[in-house]
C-alpha cells in the first residue's frame, strides 16, 4: 500500500526556564493510505508533540524541531515555509483536538467555523460552502444541520461538539486526519459513538488516521497498527494483533496489564510503579530501566538496539538480544 507519511529520526525540544526539554528524541513512524495508526503512551511521553510536529503546530518558541524529517507524500514538511504549510493544513492534513468544549470558538457560529476552512483554501461561493457544511454535518450525524449552522458552540452538547469538530476537520477532504485524544473528554457512551463515527468516515472517505491516545480501549476498537511511545521514543510498534497478543517490550506489557480486560476475567490489574524520567536530562540507556521489572545492567547504560521481529512488529529492547535470552533461559 502507498505510504503517505514517513517520519524519520524526529527530535523536538522545548526551551524552558529550567533548561531544554527533549520531548521527542528520535521518533520513526510511517503511515499507509487508509490506515489507522494509534500512538499510545502516558501523558508527557511525547505523543502529542509528535502529532503537533507533523503540521508544525508546536508553539515556537519555545518548541523546535531540531532534527529529522517528516515526509508527507513526497514533501518534507519540516523544511516547508510557514506559508506553504498553511496550504497543507486543513486541506491535506487535518487535526482534531482533545477537548471539544474548547476546540470551538465560543463567539462564532458553528456554520462560520465550518465553512471558513473551505473558503480559505478552495475558490467557493458562500452558498456552496454552506451546502457542503450542511452535508458534512449530516455525515457526522447532527440532526437539523441547517438550523444548527446558525447556532453557537455553547448550544451543543460535548458529543455533538466533537462531531462538529470532526466535520470541520473533514470538510476539505484531507488525506490524513490526526486526532489527539479525541474521546478523552467525553462520556463513555459518547466515546463509543465517536469511535464508530471514525470507522464510518474512514470507510466512506478512505482517510488515513493517526490517533493519539492513552486509552487502550479506544485503540483496540479502531487501530490497525499501534506505536507505543515512552519518554520521547517509540519503543514498540506493531499491528493491533501483535501489540495486544504478543507485546515484547516490558512497558507495553505493563500498559496492557494495567488495563482491565473483559477477555481475561479474574486477572489482577498490575500497575506500573514509578514515574517516567525527567526529560530535562534523559537517561542515556533505556528510559524505562528504572521501572522495568526485567531490567539489566546494559539497559541503564546503552540504548537498546532496534529489533525487527516481523514485517510489521519492531521493538527497542535489550531482552531481544541473544545474550539476554541466554541468561533468562538459565
Amino acid at each position: 500500500m502507498e505510504k503517505i507519511l514517513d517520519i524519520k529520526d524526529l527530535h523536538v525540544s522545548f526551551t524552558t526556564y529550567g533548561g531544554e526539554v527533549q520531548a521527542v528524541r528520535g521518533v520513526n513512524l510511517d503511515l499507509h493510505k487508509g490506515e489507522t495508526l494509534a500512538i499510545v503512551g502516558e501523558s508527557g511521553c511525547g505523543k502529542s508533540v509528535t502529532a503537533n510536529s507533523i503540521m508544525k503546530l508546536i508553539p515556537s518558541p519555545p518548541g523546535k524541531i531540531t532534527q529529522g524529517s517528516i515526509h508527507f507524500k513526497d514533501q518534507d514538511l519540516t523544511k516547508m515555509s510557514n506559508k506553504d504549510i498553511r496550504k497543507i493544513r486543513g486541506v491535506d492534513i487535518s487535526m482534531i483536538f482533545q477537548d471539544p468544549m474548547t476546540a470551538l470558538n465560543p463567539t462564532l457560529t458553528v456554520g462560520d467555523q465550518l465553512t471558513e476552512g473551505l473558503k480559505q483554501h478552495k475558490k467557493i461561493s458562500s452558498h456552496d460552502a454552506n451546502e457542503q457544511a450542511i452535508e458534512m454535518l449530516n455525515l457526522v450525524g447532527i440532526p437539523n444541520p441547517k438550523e444548527r449552522m446558525k447556532q453557537h458552540p455553547h448550544q451543543f452538547s460535548g458529543g455533538m461538539r466533537q462531531r462538529i469538530v470532526i466535520a470541520m476537520a473533514l470538510i476539505c477532504e484531507p488525506e490524513l486526519l490526526i486526532a489527539d485524544e479525541p474521546t478523552t473528554a467525553l462520556d463513555v457512551t459518547i466515546q463509543a459513538q465517536i469511535l464508530q463515527l471514525f470507522n464510518k468516515i474512514q470507510e466512506q472517505t478512505g482517510v488515513s488516521i493517526i490517533l493519539i491516545t492513552h486509552d487502550l480501549g479506544v485503540v483496540a476498537k479502531i487501530a490497525d497498527r499501534i506505536a507505543v511511545m515512552y519518554a520521547g521514543k517509540v519503543i514498540e510498534v506493531g499491528t493491533r494483533r501483535e501489540i495486544f497478543y504478543n507485546p515484547q517490550h516490558p512497558y507495553t506489557q505493563g500498559l496492557l496489564n494495567s488495563v482491565p480486560r473483559l477477555d481475561q476475567r479474574g486477572d489482577e490489574l498490575i500497575p506500573i510503579n514509578g514515574t517516567p524520567p525527567d526529560l530535562f536530562s534523559p537517561p542515556k540507556g533505556c528510559p524505562f530501566t528504572a521501572r522495568c521489572p526485567k531490567a539489566m545492567e546494559v539497559c541503564e547504560n546503552v540504548y537498546p538496539v532496534h529489533t525487527k521481529l516481523s514485517e510489521t512488529q519492531e521493538v527497542d529492547c535489550w531482552l531481544q538480544d541473544e545474550r539476554a535470552k541466554k541468561y533468562i533461559a538459565t
Partner: protein, 322 residues
C-alpha cells in the same frame, strides 16, 4: 540556538552492541526505591516565590527603591537644617544648590525637606489605605465566600452597588463634607476602596472551600473562625498581597489628585500632590525644580509599586506566569 548533543558517554560505555560485556545482560537486583527517585529539591511555596521574585530585575529595583524611599521618609528630614513649613522669603524660588539640594519654593521653603515630608504623607496614606482595605476586605470577603448561600448573595448585592458608585466622586463628596485632613482622606479612600479586596478574597475562598483539607477540618467540627484563619487565609495570601501592593499606588494617586482639587492635605504641610499643585504655575516662570521633584517622586513611587505588584503576581501565582 545550538542544541547540545547528548553524547556524553562514559569511557566504559561500549559504542557498538557487540562490545557490551555479557554479564551486563544479567537481570538486575531491584532496589526498592529505584523507581521513585526525585531529582530536583523541593522548595516551599514562599521560598519558591522569593526565588522567582529575585529573578525579576524590575520588581527588585522597585523594592529597593521603595525601601530607600521609606528610609528617606523616616530619616531624611532629620538631616535637613530646614523645616517643612518654615519659609524664608528672601530665598524664594532658588534653583537647586549646595544649600538647597532640590531648590526652594515660592515661600522660600526647602523642597528637599518638603519632598521627604511629602513621602511620609504619601506612603502613610497609601499604606494605611492598603491595610484598612485588607482588614475590611478580608473580613467581608472571607465571610461572604465562606458562608455562601443567602448571606453571600446579600453581601454580594451590597458590593455590586458599592462597586457601581464612582470611587473618586464619592471620595470627593465625603471630603467636601468631612473637610480635608490626613485622617478624613484615609477614611474617604477606604469607605469604598475595600470592595476590590473583598471580591478577590471571596473568589479565592469559594475556590479553596471546595478543597478536601477544608472539608476535613469541617468534619472534625472545627470552628468557622478558626477554619478561616488557619486554612483559608494562608492559601489566599498570594492574590491578597498583590492586591495590597496595587492599592498603595492607587491611594497615592488619589491623594495627589485630591490635592489638585484643593481637597488634599492642607498647607503648610506638604504632600507630593500639594507641592505639585502649588507649583503648577512654574511652567510659565521656569522654576522647574518645584514641579519636577514632587512629580518625579509620585511617578517613581507608583512605578515602583506597580512593578513590584506585577512581580509579586508572577512570583506568587506561577500558573498565571507569562
Amino acid at each position: 540556538m545550538l542544541t547540545e548533543t547528548k553524547e556524553t558517554k562514559d569511557q566504559h560505555t561500549p559504542s557498538t552492541s557487540s562490545e557490551i560485556p555479557d554479564e551486563w545482560f544479567k537481570p538486575k537486583e531491584k532496589d526498592a526505591e529505584g523507581a521513585e527517585t526525585v531529582v530536583r529539591p523541593s522548595l516551599s511555596y514562599w521560598q519558591d516565590a522569593w526565588r522567582r521574585l529575585r529573578g525579576n530585575t524590575l520588581a527588585m529595583a522597585g523594592l529597593v527603591f521603595l525601601i530607600l524611599l521609606g528610609l528617606m521618609a523616616i530619616f531624611g528630614p532629620i538631616f535637613s537644617p530646614y523645616t517643612v513649613s518654615q519659609g524664608n522669603l528672601p530665598e524664594q524660588n532658588l534653583p537647586p544648590s549646595a544649600d538647597h539640594w532640590f531648590g526652594t519654593d515660592n515661600l522660600g521653603r526647602d523642597v528637599f525637606t518638603r519632598t521627604w515630608y511629602g513621602a511620609r504623607i504619601s506612603l502613610f496614606v497609601g499604606l494605611m489605605a492598603a491595610i484598612i482595605d485588607f482588614f475590611i476586605g478580608v473580613t467581608y470577603g472571607g465571610i461572604a465566600g465562606y458562608k455562601g448561600g443567602r448571606t453571600d448573595n446579600v453581601m454580594m448585592r451590597i458590593i455590586e452597588i458599592l462597586y457601581g458608585l464612582p470611587y473618586l466622586l464619592v471620595v470627593i463628596l465625603l471630603l467636601v463634607v468631612l473637610g480635608p485632613s490626613l485622617f478624613t482622606i484615609i477614611v474617604a479612600l477606604t469607605v469604598t476602596g475595600w470592595v476590590g479586596m473583598a471580591r478577590i478574597v471571596r473568589g479565592q475562598v469559594l475556590q479553596i472551600k471546595q478543597n478536601e483539607f477544608v472539608l476535613a477540618s469541617q468534619s472534625f467540627g472545627t470552628k468557622t473562625s478558626r477554619i478561616i484563619r488557619k486554612n483559608l487565609l494562608p492559601n489566599t495570601m498570594g492574590p491578597i498581597i498583590v492586591q495590597m501592593t496595587l492599592t498603595v499606588p492607587t491611594a497615592i494617586f488619589a491623594e495627589a489628585f485630591l490635592s489638585f482639587l484643593g481637597l488634599g492635605i492642607q498647607s503648610p504641610f506638604a504632600s507630593w500632590g500639594v507641592m505639585a499643585n502649588d507649583a503648577l504655575g512654574v511652567i510659565l516662570s521656569g522654576d522647574w525644580w518645584r514641579l519636577f521633584f514632587p512629580a518625579f517622586f509620585i511617578s517613581a513611587t507608583m512605578f515602583a509599586f506597580n512593578v513590584l505588584g506585577d512581580g509579586l503576581q508572577d512570583a506568587l501565582d506561577p500558573k498565571l506566569r507569562r
